[in-house]
């Protein structure tokens, strides 16, 4: 899965679960400041990512995921590791 595909999917998941317009979500969007997620909602979003990609994201990695780009980069690395 290439980066563009991951980015599209991540934005789709957020748009669906947050009931948001996709076009306002960018790589720089912060989960908290731009997308308005509280810590529990961010955890819910991570849960949907885990469900979608059938992975488990450890707590130690969660702190690194602040903006959409962090998530896309992180998932790309995880997929490469799995290959």
């Amino acid at each position: 899965m290439d980066k563009a595909e991951i980015q599209k999917k991540v934005i789709d998941i957020i748009a669906e679960h947050r009931d948001m317009d996709k076009t306002i979500i960018t790589l720089e969007s912060s989960l908290r400041d731009d997308l308005g997620m509280d810590s529990f909602e961010a955890m819910e979003f991570i849960f949907y990512l885990e469900e979608t990609y059938n992975i488990k994201i450890p707590d130690s990695d969660l702190v690194k995921l602040k903006v959409i780009k962090d998530i896309v980069d992180y998932l790309e690395i995880r997929f490469k590791e799995n290959q």
Partner: protein, 415 residues
């Protein structure tokens, strides 16, 4: 100590026979049944195949999509009924000390729909794949919590879970808190959304549900000789209670005074009511005394009347023992004949009925009453509503675990 007086100023009903007070009341006095065949999960192997579910309810008419997605149906019903009750009461909390407003709600099962889904997900995908919102969605007090968050209600907040009496007891506890001066306003009532494969199957296993599958609308027949169990239903019923002087000051419409409350336990059996019914008789007498009334003052009894053999027999005996010579004269009705048994919501819906009985002086019927049972030989207001002046009424609720509760509603006088 002079107890403060408590009045009911807002009603919100979401039921199988109507959403909103007006539709709910019209159906109640028309003797309409909300019972239908179950077509939303497989009941082919069960004895009972009917329920009293709500059609045409869209939670998004009342709540935000994000909240709706993260909450179970019982919370949807609770938030919808609360919105309807606030609208009905025309109550704005803007200039009110919110720490003196409580939310006390009854619910037997809580978020059982999502509970079942998550247990299945845990077994199928593994328990490392559970939804982070599982616990806040399942917990019974999700309903009082979401009511507090949505309406910014900062006083006592709790859910009472006493099975089929939960709604009645929640209202009683809200009444006491206002009476004793702890709060001035209480958002109270009951909610239940138990129509899931597991819960329905479990009630079916107890053999307490009606098997009259060929005629769903005739299945709930409290006090009729041919009754064969209750019909499981869902509902949301919220009432606004206010301290009398505050309600008068803001010019609120007052349906009734909540005059008395009592609860006790038969300490007998988890499921079966005590055949002597002395516990039920006592709770009725105690609630009448609590309202400073005499048995001679009661004009209407909204019975627990589940349509099970044991309940209706025991309740009839208790009414005979309490009201003696008058027992056969008092109009009794079981509105469960129309709504089915909505467990924790039933006490709320039935208290709303009592408010509307006092307001309109019309008593809704017990429908499907055709064959008298010698052990249930009272005036159950059979099949057709009756016009009659009602000043004081009692509503009974009895729950699994031998728990019994009664509320007394009075026409407001002497104020």
């Amino acid at each position: 100590m002079n107890k403060r007086r408590v009045v009911i100023t807002g009603l919100g009903a979401v039921s199988s026979i109507g959403i909103g007070k007006v539709e709910f009341w019209k159906s109640s006095i028309a003797g309409m049944s909300g019972v239908k065949e179950i077509d939303f999960f497989d009941v082919s192997l069960l004895s009972s195949k009917i329920c009293s579910n709500i059609i045409g309810f869209d939670p998004l008419d009342y709540i935000d999509k994000q909240v709706a997605k993260r909450t179970d149906r019982f919370v949807h019903l609770g938030l919808a009924a609360t919105t309807l009750a606030f609208d009905d009461a025309q109550l704005k909390l803007d200039n009110i000390d919110r720490s003196r407003v409580g939310a006390i709600i009854g619910s037997g099962a809580g978020g059982i729909i999502f509970h079942e889904e998550q247990i299945l997900a845990g077994y199928e995908k593994g328990i490392h794949r559970l939804n982070p919102f599982a616990i806040p969605r399942i917990t019974p007090n999700a309903v009082s919590g979401h009511i507090a968050i949505k309406f910014n209600i900062q006083g006592p907040n709790m859910v009472i879970s006493t099975a089929c009496s939960a709604g009645n007891i929640a209202i009683g506890e809200g009444f006491r808190k206002i009476q004793h001066g702890e709060i001035d306003i209480c958002i109270t009532g009951g909610v239940e959304a138990p129509l899931t494969p597991f819960t329905f199957g479990a009630y079916d296993a107890m053999r307490v549900l009606s098997k009259r599958n060929s005629a769903p609308k005739e299945a709930s027949r409290p006090f009729d000789k041919d009754r064969d169990g209750f019909v499981l239903g869902e509902g949301g019923a919220i009432l606004i209670l206010e301290e009398l002087s505050l309600a008068l000051k803001r010019g609120a419409r007052i349906y009734a005074e909540l005059g008395g409350y009592s609860l006790n336990s038969g300490a007998y059996n988890m499921v079966i009511p005590k055949p002597e019914a002395d516990d039920i008789a006592k709770v009725m007498i105690d609630s009448i005394k609590d309202a400073s009334l005499d048995t001679g003052d009661i004009d209407y009894i909204n019975a627990h009347g589940t349509s099970t053999l044991q309940n209706d027999k025991a309740e009839s005996k208790a009414i005979r023992d309490v009201f003696k010579d008058r027992a056969k004269d008092i109009n009794i009705s079981s509105t469960k004949s129309m709504i089915g048994h909505t467990l924790g919501a039933s006490g709320g819906l039935e208290t709303i009925i009592c408010c509307l009985v006092i307001e309109n002086n019309i008593i809704p019927p017990t429908i499907n009453y055709h064959t008298p049972d010698p052990e249930c030989d009272l005036n159950y207001t059979p099949n057709t509503a009756v016009k009659k002046q009602v000043n004081n009424c009692i509503t009974n609720s009895f729950g699994f675990g031998s728990n019994n509760s009664c509320l007394i509603l009075k026409r407001l006088i002497n104020y």
